[in-house]
């Protein structure tokens, strides 16, 4: 049974539609990311789930019970915000204890839970500091500990990493995922960062203009985007001409192979080709115009007289002799068996 079920949610603020017929079903212990550009409605969806906004239409069911009319304090959720929102007059330990006190748990249980939370979030050295004495990463760890201390039915994370430095962001991202799996809490994570979403989620819901465009596990979203928006938003794609063949396959970058839809003779479409599906061979009609080192891989921008600009991701060790200005040839890698076709638009 789904732990959280949002059905047919609609919400407008004055003339602007924040959510249009939004539905999502989240399994118990699952981590679902809502991902999209600013203004796509992801935060509104989270706030409706939390009970801070009332939907104009639609229901929210948690654990089989309709909570649409419950105020936030009756929903028993934990919540983490972008701006930490720690209580400034309380130490880290007291912040974590707050929810337990509110719920009138006995003192011994409170002390025990707080110690466990301090331990799992590695806050031992900072447990008696006040928020203004801590770094951003430490504050957000306290906020996380505070949110899970009351054993919430659902954990809600609203862009929890956006205010942090890039490096801290990655560390805390992995920590959140580890912790979430350890305690098995159903979690909704809102972000605008696709890397974050892919890395952390069981399933990612890509949103645009108040609609859920696709909800799928990261791998599937990446390999089989439902439409041009998802293809463009998740990872990086080259839009390459695909020409249908009489056998139902497609000709893409000189190779003929199966597509996500059958092709018809002479039909022209656009295929979304990932940079890592493109190989760069020495000598040819194309020119390297840019080389970006991304660590394990290197991204090469190639200007091809026929295809236009193509991005290719190459293992960094193989890219050592690629320089801007070099003559190369691009092709689809041999291990690519199938391409995704997307509309011409967007």
């Amino acid at each position: 049974m789904a732990a959280v079920e949002m059905t047919g949610i609609e919400k407008s603020f004055g003339p602007s539609v924040a959510l249009a017929d939004f539905s999502v079903s989240i399994g118990s212990g699952e981590l679902v990311c809502l991902l999209g550009p600013s203004g796509c409605g992801k935060t509104t969806a989270l706030r409706i789930l939390a009970g801070f906004e009332r939907p104009d239409r639609g229901t929210v069911v948690v654990g089989g019970k309709d909570v649409s009319d419950d105020p936030p304090e009756r929903r028993r959720f934990g919540m983490v915000f972008q701006d930490y929102s720690l209580f400034p007059n309380l130490t880290a330990r007291q912040n974590i204890e707050f929810g337990l006190k509110v719920q009138k748990r006995p003192a011994t249980e409170r002390a025990e839970v707080v110690e466990r939370m301090v331990a799992v979030t590695a806050l031992d050295a900072h447990a008696d500091k006040y928020p203004h004495q801590m770094s951003g990463g430490q504050k957000q760890r306290v906020a996380l500990a505070r949110a899970i201390a009351t054993s919430p039915r659902v954990l809600l994370l609203d862009e929890p990493l956006s205010a942090l430095d890039a490096k801290v962001r990655e560390t805390l991202r992995d920590e959140i995922r580890r912790l979430q799996q350890e305690i098995g809490v159903t979690t909704v994570f809102v972000t605008h960062d696709q890397h974050e979403a892919l890395a952390v989620a069981d399933r990612v819901g890509v949103m645009s203009n108040g609609r859920l465009e696709q909800l799928a596990p990261p791998r599937e979203l990446y390999l089989n985007p439902a439409n041009a928006f998802v293809a463009g938003f998740i990872g990086t794609v080259n839009r390459v001409d695909a020409v249908g063949q009489s056998d139902g396959r497609w000709r893409v970058l000189g190779r003929v192979l199966a597509g996500s839809r059958p092709g018809h003779e002479g039909v022209e479409e656009v295929a979304a080709v990932r940079p890592e599906q493109v190989a760069v061979d020495p000598d040819g009609p194309a020119t390297v115009v840019g080389v970006s080192f991304l660590g394990p891989i290197t991204r090469v921008t190639v200007d091809d007289p026929q295809v236009g600009q193509v991005l290719a991701d190459v293992i960094s060790a193989d890219a050592a002799d690629l320089r801007p200005g070099g003559a190369v040839r691009v092709r689809l890698r041999d291990d690519v068996e199938h391409v995704v076709l997307i509309g011409r638009s967007a």
């Binding site: 304090e73 028993r76 919540m79 209580f87 707050f98 929810g99 509110v102």
Partner: protein
């Protein structure tokens, strides 16, 4: 050479800062020193020769003034008015500001505009109008000294609301509220255990400004024929210019010192008073 240049640069900055402070000093301190001479020194004020600077100082005028029974009674009235004005204002605006911020943020601009009205509508017109109307309809209302309280509360409203609102913004009250609610806290718990403890500085700033305003308010009291510290100060000054001026200076310094002490106490407890929001 470069090091020398650097030093010149920071010397210029230091000179700039000093000039600024000196100008501020001239604008505020010199007039007060001149007043102090007139009030406490029994020589013609215009004469400022070295031998005249240290002679003839006396606080007798001040002593007579502060022990005058009418002054003492007016001081008591003014202090009571301060207390009531603060209570009425906070009782009205603290809940209103909190609820607006955490529950209906879209009403915040409305509240901001409404609380500005007492400054935008000339208060003198208000008091003339209200006094005339009340005198004609419910004259008993104006009999008590405390009929000034609603006027003072209304007049201090812009300050009070802005101080409280600045406090709410500074602590990020809305997400604190939402975080606490999602953990199961009721509105009351949020207000008393989370918001108020973090707003002490803002509440003190609001109260301090209200106090300073009430202690300096002359027009309302004079028009409604009440004897408060400012009106008695003016009356007293007519009969005894030096004593009245000494009294005025005394009140000024006392108010400034009292406010300074409050700010310092708060700072020691780790709270900083922000007046930028006012």
């Amino acid at each position: 050479m470069t090091t020398a240049t650097r030093r010149t640069g920071s010397r210029i900055a230091a000179v700039g800062k000093s000039t600024f402070l000196i100008l501020v000093g001239l604008y505020f301190v010199v007039p007060m020193l001149a007043m102090a001479r007139f009030a406490f020194q029994n020589v013609p004020t215009a004469l400022l020769t070295p031998e005249k600077i240290f002679t003839g100082w006396s606080a007798a005028g001040l002593w007579t003034a502060v022990t005058d029974p009418q002054v003492l009674s007016a001081t008591r009235t003014s202090l009571l008015l301060v207390v009531f004005a603060i209570i009425v204002n906070l009782a009205l605006l603290l809940p209103l500001a909190i609820v607006t911020e955490v529950r209906a943020p879209r009403l915040r601009p409305v509240l901001t505009a409404v609380t500005l009205l007492p400054w935008v509508i000339p208060p003198i017109a208000l008091v003339v109008g209200v006094a005339a109307t009340f005198r004609a309809t419910v004259p008993w209302f104006l009999a008590s000294n405390f009929s000034l309280v609603p006027f003072y509360a209304l007049w201090a409203m812009p300050f009070t609301y802005r101080a409280l609102d600045a406090g709410l913004q500074a602590i990020g009250a809305r997400t604190l509220y939402e975080a606490a609610r999602s953990m199961g806290a009721s509105l009351g718990t949020v207000v008393f255990r989370v918001l108020l403890p973090n707003m002490r500085a803002a509440v003190v700033a609001a109260g301090g400004l209200t106090a300073a305003m009430v202690l300096g308010e002359f027009a309302f009291a004079s028009l409604l024929l009440k004897t408060t510290l400012p009106t008695v100060m003016v009356d007293y000054q007519r009969g005894d210019p030096r004593g009245g001026l000494a009294l005025a200076l005394f009140v000024m310094v006392l108010t400034a010192v009292a406010l300074g002490l409050v700010v310092r106490t708060l700072r020691r407890r780790g709270m900083s008073i922000s007046t930028t929001g006012l």
